[in-house]
Each structure stands twice: as C-alpha cells, then as structure tokens.
Amino acid sequence: MSAPSLRSALLALSNRIAEAQDEEAVCRAVVESLCHEAFGFDGVGLYLAGSTAFEPALRASAGAFAAGERTRAELKLPLRVEQSAIGEVVVQRAGSRGGAFEQGDLEILAAAANQAGIAIGRTRLLAADRQRIAEQRALLATLADLSGQLELDRLLQAVLERAVTLLDVSGGELAIVDEASHQLVIVASHNMGTNAIGTRMELGEGAMGHVAQTHEPLIIPHYQQWASRSAQYAHSAIQTVMAAPLLIGDRLVGAIASVHSDPARTFGQGEMRQLNLFAAQAAVAIENARLYSDARSRATEQQALLDTLSDLSGELELDKLLRTVLERAVTLLDVTGGELAIYDESTKDLLIVASHNMETDATGTRMALGEGAMGRVAETLQPLVIPRYQEWEGHSAKYERSSIQSVMAGPLLIGNRLVGAIASVHADASREFGDTDLRRLMMFAPQAAIAIENARLFTAERRRAREQQALLDTMQDLSGELELGRVLGRVLERAVSLLGVTGGELATYDESRKDLLIVASHNLETNAVGVRMALGEGAMGRVAQTHEPLIIPRYQEWVGHSTKYERGSIQSVMAAPLLIGTRLVGAIASVHSDPSRQFGPEDLRLLQLFAPQAAIAIENARLYAAAQQYFESLMRNNPVAIVNVDLDGRITSCNPAFERLFGYRDADVIGRNLDQLVTTEETLGEAQAYTDRAMQGGSVTGGIGRRRRKDGSIVDVEIASVPITVAGERVGMIGLYHDISELLQARRDAEAANETKSRFLASTSHELRTPLNAILGYSEMLVEQATEDGHAEYLADLGKIHSAGQHLLSVINDILDLSKIEAGKMELYLETFELRPLVDEVATTVRPLVEKRGNRLDVVAADGLGTMHGDKTRLRQVLLNLLSNASKFTEAGTITLAVEREGAEMLFRVVDTGIGMTPDQMSRLFEAFSQADATIASKYGGTGLGLTISRLFCRMMGGDVTVQSTPGAGSTFTVRLPATTRAEDEQASWPAVGTPRAGTVLVVDDDPSVRNLLGRFLSREGFQVETAADGATGLRRAREVVPDVITLDVLMPEMDGWAVLTELKRDPRLGSIPVIMLTVVDDKPTGFALGVAEYLTKPIERNRLAGVLSKYAAAARQVLLVEDDAGTRRVLRRALEQEGWNVVEAANGRAGLERLAEHRPGLVLLDLVMPEMDGFEFLDELRRSGSAGGSGVPVVVLTGKDLTEEDRRRLNGGVARVVQKRDRGPEALLADVRELIAARPASR
C-alpha cells in the first residue's frame, strides 16, 4: 500500500463529500469513497437517524457490506452534527485479509466521519432554509393571487383554500366579523365535512371565536377533548385545530381555522408561524376586497348605465329600441312610468314614440315645442323637475286628472342637436325627484340620444336598402317581361306596392298624337284605361308637360283635378313623368284614398328612383313589341314560305306562304317532321341529308330541290336554311322555300326558244346558202364559159354578180357566227398546229387583196415559231379579217403581219399605214353593226361585224384583240392568244407555275371547287396538276399521266374513293404511287389498311397539303443512280439535276439496295457490270424482296455490255428499258436519259 495512492484516495473522499449537494449524495459519497481499494475495506455502511424517526437506518452501503456479519471484523464510528450524534459509519474487513484494524484505519474512518457529519449538517441547514424560502414564495404567490381577486366571496374561498394547501391540513374555515352584530360569520369552508357557511358565532365561541376574542393564535392538540369546542364538530373527525385571528393592526377582520383529521399529524411552532404570516396577508386582502365591494356598489349605477348603453347600442330596431330605452330609464330612475318622444325635423315638433306604464298611452301624439314637460325641455334644451305636476302651469291637458304626481323630463341631445325628449313620472306622492335622480337622468340622456340616433340612421339605411332591393326586384321583374301589356301592369303594381298607396294609373305618351293614353289602372274606383289625356290635363298630364314630379296633398281641392275623379275617394296624388333622358315615355300617378296618409319627400324620392327604371322597361317592351310586330308582319306577308323547326326536325311554326305553297294548314303541320311532310320516297333521303347539313352548318345553307305538296303534286323549290342559335346553343332551324317552278319553266321555255332560234338559224343558213351556192357556182361557171367563148363584154357584169354573192355570203356567215357566239353555241375546235404554215397560208390568201390597193404585205415571223394549241380556223378567220380591214383602209402603204411568242402567249400584230382612227372611232370599233364611221360601210364595204366577231373568238380562246391608232398615220391591231387554249368549261390540267417543278399531282375529287382550288394553288406551288371529277376518270388519268402523287376524295358518286384506291393498288404501274386521302370522312384505319400514304381531313389546310405533297413528290422525283464509274455518275448527275431530279448515287448493286431501303426513288438508272454486286444480282434481289421498298420502281438499264440472249432473259420483266452506252458520247447518252425521263410517266 503506497502512501501516494492512500493520500490520493483520501483527497478524492474529501472532494466527493464536499461536492455532494444533499444528504443522500453525502451518504453515497462516504460509502463509495471508503470502498476505495487503497483503504483495504471489504464493505462500508452508513446509518443515519432522520428528521422524523430517531432510530438510525441504513442509508447507504458499498462493497460487500453485510450488517451483522460475524466472519468479518467491524469498525464503527459515530456521525455527529454540532456534537449530537445522528448516525454511524461502519467498515468491515473479511478474515481473509487478516481481519484486524489498525490505527491508520481508525484515522481514515474518523476523518471520513468528521467530514460526513459536517456535510450532512450543512445540507440539513440548507434544506431548512429552502423550506422557509418556499413558504415565503407560497405566501407571495397567495398575496399576488389574492390581490388580483376583488370579488369578496370568491376571495374568501380562495384565501381559505390557499391556507389549507400551505399548511397541508385536512381542511379549514374562514369567518369574518359582521360589524353590525359583532359576531363572526362563517363565509368560507373547505373540506370540513359539514358546510357551515352562514353560521354565526359569538366572540369566544369555538376555536375561531376564541382567537377572535384573544387576538392570539391558538393550537388545540386534542380538539375533541377541548372544553370550548363547537357543538357542530363534537363528533367529527377533527383531531387537532390551529386557528388565528385576521387582524389589520388591532382591528379584527375575521378568523381562520385549520384542522387535522389525521391523529398522527400535529401542529408545531413552524405551522403557527406560517399561519400568522398568512393571516396578516389574508386580512389585508379581505379588507381590500370589502373596500372594493363598497366602491363597486357605488359604481352599480354606472354599471347599470353601462349595461343600458351596451345593450342599446346593439339594438337597432328603432321601435324596440325606443321602448327599451324608456323601460331602462324607468328602472334606473325607479319611477312609475315614462314617455319618450323624438323630434321631427321636417315638422319641427315632437312625436311621442314610446310610453311605459302610463295611464294613457300617448304613442303617436305630436307635441309642439314648449308644449308639456317634454315640449318644454325640447325647447329649453335643459332638464326639468316638476315636483307637483298637477299644479304646474304647463301641464298637458291629457294628464289633467291623471295620477301623475311629479315629473322629471330631459332633452335627448347629441351635442347641441335635439333628437328627442324623455319624461319620467312618479305616481307615488311620497316619492320625489332629487339631485341623484337628475344626475342619473343627465347621464342617461346623451347615451340614449346616441342610441336612438344610431337606430334612426340604421333604419334609414335599411329602408334605403329595402328600396334598392325593391327597385332591383322591379327591374328584374320587368326586364324578364317583354310583352308590353304585362309590363305596364307590372310597373304599376310594383309602384303601388313600393309606395304603399291605395292605387294608381299609368299612361304612355303617344308621340304621333302628342297626348297621353292611360294604359294601366290599379285599384281605382274608375278604370280609365283607354282614356286619352292632353298634355297639361290632370296630374299625369301636368307632370308629362313639366317633366317634373308633383305632389297634390288635397286632390279634390286642386285646380287641375280631373273631372272623372270629382266625387272619388282620392285624397292625395303623387305623379311623376316617365322619362328616358329628356324624352317623355309616359307618366305614372299614385293615389292615397286614406285622408290620414300624406305623400312626403321620402315617397317622392322613391318614385323618382322608380320612374326611370319603369320608363326603360316600358320602352324596351315597346321596342320589343315593335320588333315582334315587324317580324310577325315579315313572316306573315312574306311571299317566301318560312317554316321553323326544332332540333328534331319538327315544325314549330310556319307562315301563310308555307301554307299556300304546300297546301297544309298551320294547325296540320305543327309537330310534324318537316322532311317527312314535304318529300316523296325518292327525295326523303336527300331532304334529310340537307336538313342535317343545315343544322350543323354555321350559316345559311342553300340548294334546289323538289318537294311534295299536300295534294301530292311536286313543286320545285329553292331552299335556304338558317340554323338558329340562342345563347350559343343550337335550337333549331328556319327553312325558307321559294317556289321556282315558274322560274324553272321559264328557263326551260327560254332554253327551248333558244333551241328554236338555233334551229332557225341553222336552217336559214342552209336555205340561204343553197341558192347562194348556185348563184356563185353559176356565175363562176359563166365567167369561165364567157372567157372561153371570148365574150369579154359579159365578164364585168358576171364579176359583179359573183362579188355581190360573195358579200351576201360573208354577211350571212358573220350573222351566223355572231348568233352562235351570243347563244353560247359556238364551239372551239382545239387542235395543235404549226404556226408558220398557217401564217404563210393567211399571207398567201390575203396578198392579192392587199396588193390590189397598191399596198405591200410584210410578214415578220421568226423561224421556229413552233406549235400552238387552239382553234386554227378561227385564228385564220381573225387574221384574215384584220388584214382585209387593214388593206381596206390603206392605200399605197405597207401592211405588216408580225408574229412572235411571248411567254405562254402568241402575239399577232397587224400594222397598217392607213387612215387611222380617232379615239372616238376606236371606242365604238368593236361594237356589233357599227363601223368607225357610218359612211365607211358605203365607201369600204363590209358588214361591220368582222371585228366584233374577231374579238369574241379571241376571248373564247382566252385572249383578246386590242387596237392602237393615230388618225392619218395608221393603226395597229394586236391579237394575244394563249399558246395553249384550254377547254372553257373545265380546266382538267394545270401546268406548274414558275421554274421549280415539284412534280405531278393528280387530284381526284367530285367537287369542282376543290379541283379548281387545288389546281390553282398547287400549280402555283410548282406542281403540275391533273384533275379528275370521278373515280373512273381518276383511274384513266392516273394511267395516262402516272402522277407522282394522287389526292383522293372518299365520297364520290358512282365509284367512291375506297374503290379507286383499291383499283390503284391493284395496278402494278400505279400501286406504288403515294395516295393522300383528302376527305371529310375521318376513317384513318380503313385508309391506312388500304395503303394510303397520308390521311388529311377537309377543310383542307393548304400549306400542310403542299408540304405533304412535296414530300412524296420529291421522293418520286428521286433517281437512284447505280453505276460504278464515278465519271459517268458525275455527268449523269449534272444532267439529271438540270431536269429537276434529285440524284442519289450508289457505286454498286449492294449500295444501291441500301439506298433503296432508305428512300424509295421514282426511277432507278442501273449499270449492269459492277463490282461486288452487279446489275443482274441487283435486279434479282429487287424482285425477290418484292414489296420491301423497291417494288414498282421503274428500272432503266444503262449498259455498255453487249447483251446476250441469256442476259435479256434475265432482265426480262424487270426493267422498263435498256439503253446502250456503247458507241455513244456522253451528250447522246444524256439526250437518251432526258427523253426517258420526259417520257417517264408513260413508261413507268
């Protein structure tokens, strides 16, 4: 055992004990520290006597401590606190250690015991201090609590409960001194078994009586044996009692008692001290509360007022409020009864509005200022006490013999403004009004005034709100009503109810007659509806004239009163004009037949609020009625049959024209299905489809159809249908039928007449030509004969006969042409012809005529004029006409025929150096039967129809003839004709506009507008557009042109789009052409199942369509060039691209197949001899893969190989054409390819 470790163990022991905060910790510190192995003890125990029991008990042990173990040696030392032993410390050592204790052990133990004693003493002192502090705190808490408690009863109870808790007793009682009787009254009891509250005790009686008498606290250890014990608790469980007086200084306030019912508990000096402390504080608290209670009772009046006010301010119902105020006042002032009056500012008097407990209820009576008690105070604005009312000089007559003894009245004022007055009365002669009463009244009055005023304002507000509501109701009511008669009735009824009057009248202003017409009467003795009143006549006439409202308080005395009400019960009248802006619509009058009712400014205001709304409602109804009437009249008198049907197609109404047209009566058709009513079996489907379309359509749907009359006859009608939409919802349809039977008949007649005319012309022509034929023929023959026979003298006359015949023939021809053109019978014979031969022929024909007048004919036409598509005969006729005209009006000059191509047009100019024309002459130049000058015909001949006909021909061919001329210098006639004239009725083909050729599109659609639209639009987009109006034509055109893309409508007559599509796909040459469905039928699944490329629904989005078409057309305009020689590829690519093709290259067959899988081209140009995969293998693969990308693509073989019979066999069926490269330069090859491509559609 080393000294340092022993020292450190001792140091640790001292430290732990010193650090211990309470007794428990000290004990543990002692035993645990002593168990340190440095000390060599096996067990340590500590015994301590507590504050409650003297016998020490084991409080802590450590190590192998066993009390009373005999095998061990024990060493004990007492623990002392300030010399008194409070316990002992015991250490044990087992025999195995040698058992014996040495001096060193004793010293260690003594030191530990000494330190432990000091420490325990210290903690016990500390605990006592803490308890005192806790008591102080509890008291402070009690006081703080109690000081906040001012309700005496609750305070007393709280004080007692605090004391019981503080003293930790079973229960207690509290009594206070009743100063009047000098007794104690028990006012609080807690947990006493018997509740003795209210019990009075004499001083000296019982524990509390005792301490109250002695002013000293008292402990009664054995209460049941105590001589002065209270009989009440004689056999109770109370064991010990401690009581204390409640004193403030020497003054006794009360007493408090606390009891233990547990015999083990006793009261000590500590408890006594606590109770004394507590009692002093409680006494103060109780006294405070008593003082407060007094103060409060003084404040009760104020509180009552407060109550009154808070009560009243919440009361906004004016009548109720007035009564309540009065009742409160009566209660507050403790009087018999009272009255309350309010001041009417309009009449400057008082109106009694409430009466309480008075013999006479004067409510409703008015009093002038100065009259009676209230009148007096209302005048003076000062309160007034009238001790002996019956003797008072100003007393009111109505209370003359009443029981009223004394009266106190006060004005109700807000600031200096008079609101009303209040009066309180004593009927009891012994009662008098004193200063206190006056003070109370003065406190009460202003509050009451404010409450009354608030209520009045509120009532006024609410009345206004009610009026607004009533007006709103009126407006809603009226706005929903459009029938004029009902609106007028409603307006009047509303006005009568709004104003609370007996009845009224309403008149409308007749603009045309400048007078009023009474249109509604409500609850008046005389119903004057229909009576007219001049402006200025009667109340309504007066307001209609002045545009100002009017109140007539005594109607019967009014100078302007209407004679018709002379002996009526009408007492007073209020009337107002009905105006919209300044425009008079009518007038309204309201009457009271009750003489006690009067119209006031409020009524007037209300009427003025009402009048404009009523005016608007009436005007709306009038406008509506006018519109309705207009519409009615339109329907009724319309020569067009009009029928209204609902969504189900059932007739809801129809007009007389409908009845006339179809032969049905209105009543027969209502509710019938329109389509079934007026159709035959054949036309029902068409009519229903039409109705469906019209119902769904956005606006007017029109058409022509045949319908059935009631008698079964058929009528041709033009139909227009207008869908009816109300508030965004489709509700039905209006159908209009216009009988066009006559129109159609007229047209048929006209057509027949025209036909007759044509036949007449044809036959006349025939009849005229036949003899002319003979005249011309014989004269020609005679010329020949005369020449042969040498009879020259006849030749001149024969020539004249022939010439006259020729002239007659040309006149007939011209008239015939003109008639045919005007009748639309002239048809063009379109053909393609070389221009040059035609020009030469015309020149040859006209040359003799030109030269006859000394003129020279120049023909200016470049070589290679090319061809033109048009009517060759008509063109020739036009040119001959212009040239012969030119030669007629030119002498010894030059006539030039110049022909040139200008873009898509051909220009023919006939220029002469003749007499020319003035602008005036030119303006009439092309008119039929008008030559430039009337004298010209005689001088120059001609029918005057030539130019007219020439122009008409040119226009038919899509061109025109124009003229420029200078008088004396010559004229220039210019003919412009399209190089290609299209058939007039339908343009089936639209050439691409501009240079970029996007490809060829075939549009198959039965709707001409779609064809035209797409033709125009797509051609501008660079497509060559071909059109077909039906499926069969579509297929034919597809085979002819083999387009790059086809657009196809579904709904077409005869052969629908699906059938066309199926047929297209079946044709090996057409099957690969992408087809784009363009339809209103949304059936994509069918489309894609049948192999369409795209499915677009109408309406057509043009740009989208163009995009889609471009995509497919571009693919179709792609050439796959499979060729191993890069040089050849380069040359071909350049050539192909110039032709507008996109070129994809592949250096051998395998690469070619790969490209083919990526993009399906429009054409494959294939070399045969190539590395890796040659042309033959490529074709075999292509055939084998079938539809996988390459099927149907035309293949053109380009080869330098001499094809053997075997080669040809292998190629058979797989290629469209074979082009030999051998012996041909690149230019020649290109020309071949160009030709192939140009012919591609046909060879595809």
Partner: protein
C-alpha cells in the same frame, strides 16, 4: 377519167356542180337522195362520191354509214358536202366514215384539191 357519184337533192346545185366538174374533165353521175345514192354506189364503178348531208329518204350520214358497211363500197373515198357550218358537222361526217368534208357554197378550187387528194393515183 375519174368517175364521180354526186349525191345531191337540190336540183340547181346538182346541175351546177355536175356541169362544173364535167368541165374539169370528170365523169359525173348523179343521185337525188340518199337511198338512190347508196344503191348506185353499190352497183359499182365510182372512184369517189360527193355526198350532200341533208338528203331526203336517208340522210348523208346514214348513207355513208351504209356504204362503209358494204364490202363493195367500203374503200370508196367519200367527201361530205354540207351547207351547215356548225362545229361538230365536220366531226359528225368524219365519224360516219367520210374521208373529207367541205362546206357549201362550194369553192371549186378547194373542192378540186380535196378530190384530187383522195383519188387513187392514176396509172
């Protein structure tokens, strides 16, 4: 000498045209209506037929059709002559089987050109 059958119902025209053609050296035989024209043509011996279209009995179109149907006249050139100048007459005539078409009044040089073009080359 070419033999021409002129089928024409109008006497004056028939006389005038036949005389003019004869003056030009043709051998002209005349028929006055369609039926006679067909009968005579089928009896043979004509190098060319000038056929008026508005004929009594059977008209020129029908007559032409009948001649084209008959083996013995199938190849004889026929020129239609008509006073109708309506468009479509020409097509109608060619459709019926005429080789060419000319309108009345006759312009003799033009008609002679057409006749010569259709006559078989002279041996």
């Amino acid at each position: 000498m070419a033999r021409i059958l002129l089928v024409e119902d109008n006497e004056m025209n028939r006389d005038m045209l036949s005389r003019r053609l004869q003056r030009k050296g043709y051998e002209v035989t005349m028929a006055v209506d369609g039926r006679q024209g067909v009968d005579m043509a089928r009896s043979g011996g004509y190098d060319l037929i000038l056929m008026d279209m508005s004929l009594p009995e059977i008209d020129g179109w029908e007559a032409t059709r009948q001649l084209r149907a008959a083996p013995e006249t199938r190849t004889v050139p026929i020129i239609a002559l008509t006073a109708h100048a309506m468009a479509g007459d020409r097509d109608k005539a060619l459709e019926a089987g005429c080789n060419d078409y000319d309108t009345k009044p006759i312009e003799l040089p033009r008609l002679l050109g057409k006749i010569e073009a259709l006559l078989p080359a002279k041996p």
